[in-house]
């Protein structure tokens, strides 16, 4: 079959230039086998119908000009443990000391040749679980070939966030990072991710939250116009646990953010939210979310807002799967786009699949233009059409930004977004 052949050829071409790094040998070997079996995705795959993965699966990354901007680091004012990667390479000099009470932090590559480490058995586990019912071969590729990442184990409630800063300095960098987070029972940790990372970035974050644990994740994907990224967050959360993730995407040619959450314990809460601002017909942004309720009384929320103009394309594929027995599930999903002109597109595929009979699940999706009455009202008070549009744009995104639990981080993102909109570059 021509299609199967094409897939095999693409996969082979991609793999031929890669070497399996040392460490996690069993997991990497398994992943390599799996990726060959699955084959890398093409647009013919249902799950990639709205986003063309060609540049993500190609043997070589397309070069991306580094955007030189002079502005302070996002979240810079927050007391944090900074971990810096420059084009995927750990920068020890720019990073903070990784010792912190209540946390064990290590680099993935540093524990690669350790014999005993909790991460040894965990690496690739959630990624593997996340392949059912839909294949995510780019994540498997990452498990096989990721060169580095960060490994965090939280044993207490820690306020100070671990801040992963991904700098992009090389136009041709092609990077795969794989990070692991284990939140022990009753513990709490916040992970920040910030920056464009590379010309092409493939990341996997596996998050295991034990009973009563809490994981907070706030991410801003950097403003380089030409960067491409596919990111995956696989989470498994226990009883009375909390998982909260927010992503801001501004610019970038292609971004696919996948978030796969399994709610395995009763009374668990999972919130995933995203705000995206896309400008130009070379902007394509895809949020793909899959939340599985497999326990009692779980609450999940998906809130995604996209502002698109000048031919930008936004995609949302969000699913809530309620398994048999997951009674009293409360699932909510909303995806909305603000289309600032007639050329931009929003494609939404909301899905509910429910096998329990006592649940409350709702989903909604809207696309709309700017409210001309509101805009005229602002103009009649002296606010320019441009500034008024920005104000209404921020107001539209506010509901997603409100999903961020931490006020300081939310304010920082809001301020930055405001200045980005005003500056238009």
């Amino acid at each position: 079959m021509a299609l199967a052949k094409l897939k095999a050829d693409t996969t082979e071409a991609r793999l031929s230039g890669l070497t399996v790094p040392a460490g996690f040998d069993a997991a990497r070997k398994d992943a390599l086998l799996r990726v060959v079996t699955m084959g890398l995705p093409s647009r013919r795959d249902e799950y990639w119908k709205y986003t063309d993965p060609t540049t993500l699966t190609a043997a070589d990354a397309v070069a991306a000009t580094v955007l030189e901007i002079d502005e302070p680091l996002l979240f810079g004012a927050v007391d944090q443990i900074k971990v810096v990667f420059v084009d995927g390479v750990f920068d020890a000099a720019a990073s903070d000391d990784l010792t912190q009470e209540g946390l064990e932090i290590a680099r993935l590559s540093d524990i690669a040749d350790t014999d005993i480490h909790w991460a040894k058995d965990f690496y690739g586990t959630l990624e593997t679980r996340g392949q059912n019912p839909v294949y995510r071969p780019l994540a498997t590729l990452n498990t096989a070939f990721a060169t580095d990442g960060i490994v965090i184990r939280a044993t207490a409630k820690v306020k100070k966030p671990v801040s992963l800063v991904y700098l992009h300095k090389d136009d041709t960098s092609d990077v795969m990072l794989h990070s692991l987070v284990r939140v022990e029972a009753g513990a709490e940790v916040t992970v920040l991710e910030n920056g464009p990372a590379a010309a092409r970035f493939n990341s996997v974050l596996e998050v295991d939250v034990a009973d009563g644990g809490a994981f907070h994740h706030v991410r801003a994907q950097g403003r380089d116009h030409e960067r491409r990224a596919v990111t995956h967050c696989f989470a498994r959360i226990g009883c009375e646990s909390l998982f909260k993730s927010f992503t801001l995407t501004v610019n970038g040619r292609l971004t696919r953010n996948e978030c796969i959450i399994e709610m395995l314990g009763d009374d668990a809460v999972a919130h995933v939210a995203g705000a995206c601002v896309g400008d130009g017909d070379d902007f394509h942004h895809d949020d793909t979310v899959f939340i599985t309720h497999d326990a009692l009384n779980g609450e999940s929320r998906q809130v995604f807002k996209k502002v698109l103009r000048n031919g930008a394309v936004g995609v949302f594929q969000g699913k809530i799967l309620v398994k048999e027995g997951a009674q009293k599930t409360d699932g909510y999903q909303i995806s909305q786009s603000l289309l600032l002109d007639g050329d931009s597109q929003f494609l939404a595929k909301p899905e509910l699949e429910i096998y329990a009979d006592d649940v409350a699940c709702s989903h909604g999706s809207t696309s709309g233009a700017i409210d001309e009455d509101a805009l005229f009202y602002l103009q009649s008070r002296g606010v320019s059409r441009q500034a008024g549009t920005d104000l209404l744009t921020l107001a539209f995104l506010a509901e997603a930004l409100d999903e961020i639990g931490d006020d300081a981080l939310a304010d920082d993102l809001r301020d930055r977004l405001e200045s980005w909109l005003a500056r238009r570059s």
Partner: protein
């Protein structure tokens, strides 16, 4: 202050002529009222003066202190000193009332080449003006007009007017949807702003508002024109006899 000469305008989408030659001259410090039956073009006049989309001016002129209004963007008209208190103030979810006020005040100051107000100064002024309009802190915090009662919305309009200190204020049926007490409060807010350098154009259906905001001149508008002008007694005549007599007399 405001000079309107032979103003003619169509509704863009429907090819319908709404204003058929409006002449109106308001001097500095004066309060003029426009009354008229439904569909006479009163609200359209206010929209065209403030620059709303959807209308096409086909003739005539409108100037504010000699400056052509019709050529300007809505925000430029606002910066030039024009203010429209909306008949139906617009709800803007997600934008805090305070943010909205500060953005508006500073945008106008900037457009006029003045310094922006500091956050502290702004807050002090807003609180003071809000108090006299019985607008509480909660209303200032909430999104613009969202969940406001009819009275709250109209008071919020007057607060905006007080903050922006325009030269020429147009009040489009500010009394609609108000109970007697709310109307008094709004009228007091307007009266507090009356000054030598500031003019008002009050569009209303009822004489009642004009008991509180005393006009210098009353105009009757019908079928896209001002058909009769006179003193405050004209409003009383309308109140007592309706428009029929006046329409007949002019025809």
């Amino acid at each position: 202050m405001l000079e309107i000469k032979g103003l003619m305008a169509d509704l863009q989408d429907e090819d319908k002529t709404i204003l058929k030659g409006v002449d109106l001259s308001i001097e500095a410090g004066q309060v003029h009222a426009i009354m008229g039956p439904n569909g006479s073009g009163k609200s359209t006049l206010s929209y065209i003066l403030s620059g709303k989309d959807g209308y096409e001016v086909t003739g005539g002129s409108a100037t504010l202190d000699g400056v052509d209004l019709l050529d300007m963007e809505p925000e430029e008209r606002a910066a030039a000193g024009l203010f429209l208190a909306f008949q139906y103030p617009v709800e803007i979810p997600g934008v805090g009332n305070m943010t909205f006020l500060r953005t508006a005040v500073n945008a106008q100051r900037k457009a006029r080449g003045e310094e922006e107000l500091s956050a502290g100064d702004f807050l002090r002024v807003v609180r003071e003006k809000a108090k006299s309009l019985k607008i509480d802190a909660d209303m200032l915090k909430r999104p613009v007009n969202v969940g406001f009662s009819g009275g709250e919305k109209k008071r919020n309009e007057i607060l905006q007017m007080a903050m922006l200190e325009p030269k020429m204020c147009i009040l489009d049926e500010t009394d609609s949807g108000l109970d007697v007490d709310a109307m008094k409060l709004v009228a007091e807010g307007v009266n507090a702003l009356r000054s030598e350098g500031r003019s008002f154009l009050v569009i209303t259906h009822y004489q009642r508002l004009l008991d509180h905001i005393k006009p210098d001149v009353v105009h009757i508008m019908a079928n896209g024109r001002i058909i009769k002008s006179g003193g405050p007694e004209l409003a009383l005549e309308v109140e007592n006899n309706g428009y029929a007599d006046i329409l007949e007399e002019v025809a």
